[in-house]
Amino acid sequence: MTVPATPVKGIARRLDADEIGRLLPHRHPLLLLDRVLELDPPRRAVGIKNVAIAEPWFAGHFPGRALLPGVLLTECLAQLAGVLVAAEQAVRPEPADPAVPAAHPDVHPAAHPYGDSNGHSDGASVAGAYAGDGIGVLAEIKRFRFRHPVLPGDRVRLEVTLTSQLGRVREFACLASVAGNRTAHGTLVIVA
């Protein structure tokens, strides 16, 4: 079934898997997002991940007791945030936009004053090395909690909300839920 797409400033508000694939660089077996239900760049997105026993990790996680790895749930949320960043760039290709609220100023990567040092934080350095070519990468995972196991057959509702931004660095509050129950929540920092 195709999702009826309503264009909003050049980008669909709902996205099916093929459209998600055009916004994200991820491919099988790590393109995890099945659908985007709400897309409100740059602030908020809601998506769906349907969990199937056919997914390759269930062969080993765990034999006889299939359980979606928490890192993959985190990755689902990161991908939804990635869609939000990609959609924002699609809507607003011009990086320095005066319409952006002062609390969340956006600057062109080349004008970023702090650069990407090779200091103590290796994760950020790796992020810096990849960021800027349109691919958003995970720079930090903060305070994640996994409250309930996610099993084959579950439909996971994913929600990400931009809470803070400094240039190419964005922080998202993330929530994953199954049938209205919170299964995981935490904060992700993405450099794009």
Partner: protein, 99 residues
């Protein structure tokens, strides 16, 4: 009286600097004791070698601890802890004299 007031302000500034140094170490998991961070050493580049992800974390920390919102435009304030303290006092002058 003015002299005493100046002393009090200086002590207040030192207190904020110390709070910032402690916050840097705590929030960024720096492998050093806060007392080894001098207040006028550069924060980025060859100083504490922080990067843009760290900067966002510090901005969130300063907002939480001092109720001061910094943006990209405050990049000069991130030159050193002393400069950050000056910037915080611009928004919260009362902090210099509050004990």
């Amino acid at each position: 009286m003015d002299y005493e007031k100046a002393l009090e302000t200086a002590a207040g500034i030192q207190r904020i600097c110390h709070r910032l140094a402690c916050m840097f170490v705590e929030r960024l998991d720096l492998p050093i004791d806060p007392i080894w961070i001098s207040y006028d050493q550069p924060i980025f580049g060859r100083g504490l070698e922080l990067d843009s992800v760290d900067t966002l974390e510090l901005i969130l920390g300063i907002e939480y601890e001092f109720d001061v919102s910094l943006t990209e435009d405050d990049r000069i304030s991130f030159g050193s802890i002393a400069r950050l303290t000056q910037r915080i006092l611009e928004d919260r002058p009362g902090l210099a004299t509050a004990s």
